[in-house]
Amino acid sequence: MKFGGRLKYVSQEKIVFTITLVMFAVFAVSLDGFIGTSNLLALLRSVAVLGILGLGMLIVVLGRGIDLSMVANMAISVAWTIQLVGTGMPLWAALAIGLGFALGMSLITGILVAFAEIPAIFATLAMGTFIYGFGRAHLITGTDVVYLPADFGWAAQIGQGRLLGVPIPILLAVILAVVVYLFLRFSKHGWNTYNIGDNAQASRITGIAVRPTMVLQYMLSGTAAYLAGLITATAVQSMNTRIVNSNMIYDVILIVVLGGVSLSGGRGSVRNVIVGTLLIGVLVNGMTIMDIQYTIQNVIKSLILLLAIVADSVINPRDEQTGQQGDI
């Protein structure tokens, strides 16, 4: 407690933000080409997708949930959209179907968590496995990678276009950040998300529609996943469904947790996600410039995540008396 008291004003967010600034300064001085506008835009652009996924994850985590199915949902819904366009379906219809698929899957996830009361970790883990399996078995058969057809219309601009010299992914991430901020700060459901994360039982007693709100949280994260997927696919001209087997979902958790959002729910805001995203952006960009192997990058990122959660547990120690049973 004494330790915690001394560190009362040293939140994880501030530590991470400081580390980010220090690292930025060190890279700026030591690495050639780091500080240039093009590199900085590339840096932001590279983490825009992660940031958008993080915003979706934020909403779920604030409500004391977690969504491990985001990447699977993103990959399969977008890959299917692209495939539908490739087979001649009008763009708007394909986009609508893809979004519908993403929303439908996250609706199921939400129902499983909120109404069937399956712990979020397992519901979303299983849904992620299921979505990937279902997609590969029935929607995108035969090939791992779905390539963007030549005539993807205006939607191709989502990943490739620029507005006033700024890549559209960055703009989209910023807009989404503002929207999520407004949602959490000013809307009834945003407030209730915090309330549910703080104390779901009490929220229920006060008359908040806890279960529908939880379903809404998962559907919002599904929307974010679809948007992030569209950006990824249009940026690299394809959607590789094997991304589901990568560590991407852990990166998303990483940026959320790093920024200081509490996994026990109810604590955190968009600002925390931005800080976490920036740290990862700077780190990955720096390491890429230094030509560090991808595997080692993974190790470094994981170690940082580990440090972040160790720091979290030292600053906010979990007490044997108040720890929740089954909270793993």
Binding site: E117, I118, F122, F130, N298, L305, I309, V310
Partner: protein, 709 residues
């Protein structure tokens, strides 16, 4: 009798409704759903794949099963302590790589290599354990991170050494036996698994460390507060997990001798699915090794079957994902609703067709006011004297609900003392030949208070277990009255084996034969059940000639005779039925007849309800317990009957003011002493025309009592 009612009768006679509730109350019922699921999966896959049940396929599968089940056991260990270990997949890959490295490149012997490998994977477990156990990090995130890090390390090592490793090929008899051979028809990995499983099962179910581990999983806070070394035990669970995964990895290396980047990918999900599908509870505390093994069979057959059915690439994960969802869903719902379900289905009324009662407006049961001038003893000083008894010095004894035997001093019974404290709820009493007081104690069994020093000793509290009973019925739940035969054998009744004493109304609602007559033989010190399936047996009394015992079946409103000797030895017969109320204790009268207490009167509504078991079942499920139909125990009477079962007289208190409720009575020297379980007094009334010198003890043991007949 119409066909419909015959069918109804047969259905309630032969279909054991109560078994369902009793099965739900057993802890092995937790295994029923996983087991059924396993059987279905194996059956369906076996039907779909033509050569599934062939010897070679079973052999291949069981070799893989050894590896998978070890990992599932690792996962189960951690789940039981309330955590989760996602790093099993990459730790498995690490073990596989290390084993091959030590053999092929470091040229170590198999034993040393395996030992080192398991040591290192245990080290990974130790890191998890330190972080989760000591630093109190979240298990899910922490092991997720170690999953990534270990996987990255394996990838790096593979980049470095894969080429060298593919060049050399280690071979030795032991290594080949591990990978290809086995013991008799069992593959090596299966034998290892069997050994580990036996050890683990004994550890979890029968050893201190295993229990402590489960205690922490059940409630970490309580375990901490009772002083268990929570941190150390949690940490050690992860180390064990690491070691088991290491073993699995070694066996995998022996089988395939190849290190690839996809080794162990997704293994954590398979293992998790298996552990939960087997019925181990997320969050810890509930689970077992057999559950883990069942889950592993299901997952192995499922994933193997999907693969071999030639479905396209996504089907495996899809089926696995669905299985995990299903498993967690069932687990959550089962944990949440099991007790609700149990309380709903445990009460299982049966058909009870009671003949019309004897009339109470004429004949021996004609209502009168003979009890209205009962003398009251110890008013307000005793609570629930179920039975009363007197010794040869005319002192009066009764039990109370605080677990004491109270003695009231002759001649006026104005003073009393606690004769002995037993605990439980003392019910029926009897003096043996030496003046020791034998007492049936509800919830405890048969006890004796010695005459010499008033010391209380247990006579018996268990009988032989029924062979086909689902629940263990050896322990005595509600022993309620006893009597002693001339040869010293103690015959006593147990009213019900399905309910505790305070739930007696529920047993009445069931009106099933839940009770039994039990005999304790002091010569052999053996207790055995004589008669079963009796409807609330009560009021055991040895006949005057000592050749039979009489007992009442309360909810059946009848009095039975069970022959101890003579031509009808071992036979049970109904002595008197169609009683107007519920008979309780039976005791000898001085003139060779018997007194019986009627503790409450039958009502037409309940009699009708007894013919409608469905109605009573609905009642028990849907409305609150205090609104159920119960037997009326407010008012009753004392009646007297003879050895032929003919009733001679009855004594009532129509206004129920002086001594409202009667469960027992004793005749002693011209007086009749009355006890009632809901009373705060004991009553006595002068008997006209009875033998003034007669006492219960002398009737049993005095003079020529033994050979009276």
């Amino acid at each position: 009798m119409s066909l419909a009612s015959s069918i109804k009768k047969a259905r309630y006679r032969f279909f054991p409704d109560h078994i369902v509730g009793e099965m739900l109350s057993k802890s092995w019922i937790d295994n029923a759903i996983p087991f059924a699921f396993m059987i279905v999966v194996v059956g369906v896959i076996g039907l779909l794949l033509p050569n599934f049940f062939t010897g070679s396929n079973i052999s291949i599968l069981s070799r893989q099963y050894g590896e998978l089940a070890l990992v599932v056991l690792a996962m189960t260990t951690v789940i039981l302590v309330g955590g989760i270990d996602l790093s099993v997949g990459s730790n498995f890959a690490l073990a596989n790589f290390l084993m091959l490295y030590f053999l092929n490149l470091a040229h170590l012997p198999v034993g040393v290599s395996a030992g080192l490998t398991i040591l290192i994977t245990s080290g990974v477990g130790l890191i998890n354990g330190l972080l989760v156990g000591y630093l109190r990090l979240r298990a899910f995130l922490t092991t997720l991170v170690t999953l990534i890090i270990v996987r990255a390390v394996v990838d790096l090592l593979l980049l470095e050494y894969a080429q060298d490793m593919s060049m050399s090929f280690y071979s030795s008899p032991l290594w080949d036996m591990m990978g290809l051979g086995g013991v008799w028809i069992f593959p090596f990995s299966f034998v290892v698994l069997a050994a580990v499983a036996v050890v683990a099962h004994i550890a979890f179910s029968r050893s201190g460390p295993g229990w402590r581990l489960l205690a922490i999983g059940g409630s970490r806070r309580s375990a901490f507060n009772m002083g268990l070394p929570v941190k150390r035990i949690v940490c050690s669970a992860y180390v064990i997990s690491g070691a088991l995964v290491g073993m699995a990895g070694v066996l995998y290396a022996a089988r395939l001798s190849g290190a690839g980047t996809d080794t162990g990918i997704g293994l954590e999900i398979s293992a998790l699915t298996a552990a939960i599908l087997g019925g181990n509870s997320l969050g810890g505390g509930r689970g077992s090794v057999p559950k883990a093994l069942m889950g592993a069979v299901t997952v192995l057959v499922l994933s193997n079957g999907v693969l071999r059915l030639g479905l396209n690439s996504g089907s495996g994960p899809m089926v696995l994902g669905l299985a995990l969802l299903f498993a967690v869903f069932v687990d959550v719902r089962w944990m949440k609703n099991r007790h609700k379900l149990l309380s709903k289905v445990y009460v299982s009324p049966t058909l009870m067709e009671m003949p019309d009662p004897r009339p109470t407006d004429k004949g021996p049961f004609e209502i009168n006011d003979r009890l209205s001038d009962v003398e009251v003893i110890a008013l307000g000083e005793v609570e629930s004297p179920e039975d009363v008894i007197l010794d040869e010095d005319d002192n009066l004894y009764s039990g109370n609900r605080h677990g004491d035997i109270i003695r009231y001093f002759a001649p006026d019974y104005k003073t009393h003392e606690v004769y002995a404290h037993i605990g439980g709820a003392p019910l029926g009493m009897s003096f043996d030949r030496n003046g020791n007081l034998l007492v049936c104690v509800g919830g405890m069994g048969l006890y004796m208070v010695s005459k010499a020093d008033r010391s209380v000793s247990k006579v018996t509290d268990e009988t032989n277990r029924s062979v086909f009973s689902v629940v263990d019925d050896s322990r005595l739940r509600l022993a309620d009255d006893l009597d002693i035969a001339p040869d010293g054998k103690i015959y006593f009744s147990e009213a019900t084996i399905r309910y505790e004493m305070h739930d007696w109304p529920v047993d009445a609602l069931e009106s099933r034969g839940n009770g039994r007559i039990i005999c304790y033989d002091p010569a052999t010190k053996k207790t055995r059940t004589l008669l079963k399936n009796l409807v609330f047996p009560n009021g055991v009394c040895t006949a005057h000639d000592g050749k039979s015992i009489l007992f009442a079946e309360s909810w059946g409103c009848r009095i039975n005779r069970y022959w101890l000797e003579g031509p009808r030895k071992g036979k049970l017969e109904v002595l008197a039925d169609r009683l107007p109320g519920y008979p309780d204790n039976i005791n000898r009268a001085s003139d060779g007849t018997y007194w019986v207490a009627i503790m409450g009167m039958r009502s037409p509504a309940l009699d009708l309800a007894l013919r409608m078991p469905d109605f009573r079942r609905r009642m028990a499920r849907r409305i609150a317990a205090d609104q159920w139909l119960y037997p009326n125990l407010n008012i009753g009477c004392v009646a007297r009957f003879n050895d032929k079962g003919e009733f001679l007289e009855s004594m009532w208190d129509r206004y129920a003011t002086n001594h409202p409720m009667i469960t027992s009575m004793r005749e002693h020297k011209g007086w009749l002493y009355l006890g009632g379980i809901t009373n705060n007094r004991i009553g006595r009334i002068r008997l006209e025309g009875m033998n003034d010198g007669w006492s219960g003890w002398s009737s049993y043991w005095g003079g020529s009592a033994r050979g009276q007949a």
